[in-house]
Amino acid sequence: MQKYATRMGDGFRVELTEDEIKQDIEEGTNDASEKGKIEPLSKDAQNRLLEIFKCPDKSVGVERGSEVILSYDSGTTKFKRANVSVSKIQSLQIYERLIGADTLELAHIDYSFKPVKPIVVFEQPILEQALLMTIPPLFYGAMPNLGLYSQPDGPCENPADLLPKGKISEARESYEKQIEYAVKDMVYVGGQMYEAGADGINFDTTGAAGDAEFLAALKAVEILREKYPAMCIQMGMAGEFVLGMHGELYYDDTRLAGLYTHGQLELAQKAGVTIFGPTVNIVTGKSLPWNITRAVTFTKACTDIATIPIHACMGMGVGGVPLTLSPPVDALTRASKAMVEITRLDGL
């Protein structure tokens, strides 16, 4: 029987028959449907995905006219991380002129709002110069990263120490205090960079520390939106599901713990986010047909209800892309094509 080359979620190459791919597609969409309590993909969409996985080409692309915006997070840190010696502005120019990025993002190498606070005055002139030298919309981005507000990195007691000791109310109090500090930093940095000319602010990997971090970001967005009505605010999430590290936090009567992509989007929209990036984690032990279908199902639940643009987060270990050091092109292009053609999203 004919077999088709694909991969597992950790990038390992495998070959599957058409029936095996079909089955993984069905199981992937059903997994998302059960977990997120959302609609599974239609049979038509599942067949479309099957075609994408059966295509013998190494890399695949979307039809002419279906191209979407390519936005990049953490822009100026990535070349540095690969040991390429370029300045921030040169990085942005490479993104613009060589990579074909539709939006750019200036970022500090220590990519969280807190460490940017003391150096914001050094970031502002770089932003001003970058604006004069590049054309696409230029974001300033960082992670809310609530972990930096607890010991040993910050003033609050560390919930990771308190929780295993059963000190739940103390851990919750610590999270609540951390939210206050984090909101202040995000509003300060976001406001300062916007006033220096940034077209937008990106809250990257939101919710990495769980529900308290998501709440902090939503509150910061609300304040910034009120203060700067025209500001573009992008929010990329940390995962498909908000971890309930506190468990009892609400935003406008909605419990944050346990919210899946579409629930996250609804609150982000309400708070004043203008571009939302749903993130779906990879399961390394499952195949790409399973993972990509699952990611597409969760993302489609967002595009079906969104009133703002959706830019799915795609990269190592998220959005159906395998968790490897550098994403294999066959997998990355298949995940991208599937996302664009089935969810009708606005950007990646």
């Binding site: 971890l243 506190h246 009892e248 713990a257 390394t284």
Partner: protein
């Protein structure tokens, strides 16, 4: 009193994190002549396993899981106290941590919580733990198992380093190893020679149990 009813009560107590009733039900079981270990295995432990599954499905959250684990601990303490002194009631000793260069520890905390709730003694070394530290702690505590968590493809190599170091120092059979973390797979575990792999905290408990049995 119906045994099955007591087992069911025990499960409910764990699932509802019912700290007020745990003592009463544990003592009632003893006075009814139920074996402590049976009451734990058929009653309370079924509850904590269910909590683990509910947690994985996002239906309960970390504080609830931890509260249940606390209630579980109280139940086990009461039941175990009734056994004659000198009987070792812990099911095994596990040294665990997130490997060097890696600060992701949320998943590892869950694994620690579930292992503790299942009567394993756990020494949690935290995150960014050097390979040498795992081995030192395992020696010091005479551990049965070393568990390592790695969330980054760039730090997985330290799980291999642990295997290599254990082999080099002739300790490979003495301490069994279990690996976990999002990028880690059974294939990786096989490749580096780790004794077990688990995808999440509930399966981690199962795997650790079977390592103890083997």
């Amino acid at each position: 009193m119906d045994r099955e009813k007591l087992f069911k009560d025990a499960q409910d107590i764990i699932i509802k994190c019912d700290n007020d009733r745990v003592e009463e039900v544990a003592k009632l079981a003893l006075s009814e002549g139920i074996e402590p270990l049976e009451m734990i295995n058929e009653g309370f432990r079924v509850g904590i396993t269910k909590m683990g599954d509910l947690f994985e499905r996002g239906e309960v959250f970390l504080p609830e899981l931890i509260q249940s684990a606390e209630v579980m601990k109280k139940a086990t303490d009461i039941l175990m106290e009734s056994l004659p002194k000198g009987i070792d009631t812990k099911r095994g000793t596990v040294v665990i941590g997130t490997v060097q260069g890696d600060i992701h520890d949320i998943g590892k905390i869950l694994v620690v919580t579930m292992l503790q709730a299942n009567s394993f003694e756990v020494f949690d070394l935290g995150h960014d733990v050097e390979t040498e530290m795992f081995i030192e702690k395992a020696k010091e505590t005479n551990a049965d198992i070393i568990g390592t968590s790695s969330l980054l493809t760039t730090t997985m190599k330290y799980q291999k380093e642990l295997e290599d170091e254990l082999k080099k120092s002739g300790l490979k059979g003495k301490f069994k190893t279990i690996v976990g973390g999002a990028p880690v797979t059974q294939r990786w575990a096989d490749r580096i020679g780790a004794d077990a792999y688990a995808e999440n905290a509930s399966t981690a408990v199962r795997e650790v149990q079977s390592l103890m049995g083997s």
